[in-house]
């Protein structure tokens, strides 16, 4: 479903991502872990077109995404969330969902409202439907951000950047449940960046470890956490 070939991003002399080759199958939930500064967010930015790669290629469902601006990538079914939720803070919870629907331009306003109400119900946010997004707690904001992508009919691949950071366990469970549900019922592919190993274990069959902008190792979570290099990387040591 999503594949990168030799993806590299340089900021001046600094390599943020170096020669990343990653392939995620359709319907997979992949975890992306690594210490701070490993280049995970840069990688997501490259995938969604917020930044242009210095070299390499990105394929989504067999077509390259290079040269596509963020909104056309979104319309091809590649959506994302942000580490610090980028909600439209002065708009209501409902409007935050509707904008996502409008942006990808399908269905009527009625459909959109029905879908949004359904999602809010599932997520337990119904009573906050008409409150401004800025009134939500941190966890609720993360949840709302996640729901945004589910508004989009043609969603195929969903990139979640630290979706669980600072989220309380109850909301976290709701999010895990939603991800599982959309993965199973609609076959949506996920790439989840997270430090939360317990959640990654619940969700992801495979994880990729990024360190210093490079892929360190890929495999099942237990496999990779046993790897000495990974332990070094997390402890902040350099390895050669």
């Amino acid at each position: 479903m999503l594949e990168t070939i030799g993806l590299t991003k340089r900021f001046g002399g600094l390599f943020a991502n170096t020669d990343i080759n990653l392939s995620i199958a359709e319907g997979e939930i992949r975890g992306l872990i690594g210490p701070n500064g490993a280049g995970k967010t840069t990688f997501i930015n490259l995938l969604t077109g917020v930044e242009e790669p210095s070299s390499g290629d990105i394929w989504l469902a067999g077509k390259t995404l290079l040269g596509q601006v963020p909104y056309t990538r979104a319309r091809r079914g590649l959506l994302r969330t942000f580490q610090v939720p980028k909600l439209f803070r002065n708009m209501t919870v409902l409007e935050n969902l509707l904008i996502q629907h409008f942006a990808c331009g399908q269905g009527t306003q009625r459909d959109a409202r029905l879908r949004a109400d359904g999602l809010l119900e599932m997520a337990g946010l119904t009573r906050l439907r008409d409150s401004p997004a800025s009134h939500l707690s941190g966890g609720q904001q993360a949840l709302l951000q996640l729901l945004g992508g589910f508004m989009v009919e043609r969603l195929r691949c969903y990139l979640l950047d630290e979706p669980f950071a600072g989220v309380n366990p109850i909301v976290k469970d709701t999010m895990v449940e939603l991800i599982h549900q959309y993965n199973r019922s609609r076959g949506i592919t996920f790439l989840i960046v997270s430090h939360e190993m317990s959640v990654i274990r619940q969700l992801c069959s495979r994880v990729t470890v990024l360190a210093e902008g490079k892929v360190l190792i890929e495999g099942a979570l237990d496999e990779v956490t046993a790897n000495a290099q990974v332990i070094d990387a997390y402890l902040g040591k350099t390895w050669s």
Binding site: T48, Y71, R75, F82, R89, M91, A103, Q109
Partner: protein
Amino acid sequence: MLLGVDLQLLSQYVIAGLMIGVLYALMALGVTFIYSVMKMINWSMGQFYMLGSFIQYLLVVRWLGPDLWFVALPITAACVFVIGAILQLVLIRPMFTGGVERRDEYATVITIALLLLLQSLATVLNGPDEHTPGSHLPNLTVGTLPVSGATLAASLGGIAALILFAVLLRRTWVGLALRAAAQSRIAVQTAGVDLMRLDMIAFGIGVALAAIAGALLAPVYLVYPTNGAVTTTKGFEIIIIGGLGSIPGALVGGLLLGLVEALGSVFIAPAYQNAYGFVLLIALLLIRPTGLFGERLRAA
């Protein structure tokens, strides 16, 4: 009598101040709206006011006649919307797509260049002459103030334009997207909105608001190549008073400026009418540097 001021005169001033305040708000709204979506200041707003007044004048004098001024009005707004959209496409969009550094400075240079270009073009095409589309509306009295029909029509038209703008923002998909873009340009793009097209619409709507003010005031304040100067100065005064990028700020700031000018005129002297706004502005900046409705920049 109040502080030695004739109450009749005071009430007349307040009514006149509020009526012009509506149009001040309209002038300021365009600048603040474009800023809120595009994060750039359009310094050539006064010239779109001028353009609106000229198009209205031509439509009324050549084809429609003064009785159909209200038919000319939406046509004028549509024309200026299209002109604005084209100018955005040709002159302003390249700044956003090219990853230009210091975009603000380019926006300033480009829109000031546009200001000079449009004003000079109007002077060349029209000469310095003044015109009026004329009005057949009768004079009447609002409260204690005798006003020309055209002035009242301009105020009511201004209110109608403001309501229409609010409906557009609140009740339509485009309005939703525009409000969203005003809050986060990145999030709106990753959500799948074609931001460049949205910018084009925002720029078109913004300049059309100034053009509506120009068209409405054409029979009242006349049509000539430099008639947009007031829009520029008052518009920016209001924006600083109300807070850059704040739509309620533009509305309240517009009415407040009209009122302060009226009160200054009656209690001090009308000679300094254009200075009272600046006094208000400076006083406000000392107390609240972000303007009435402005937000402090949040640390990222």
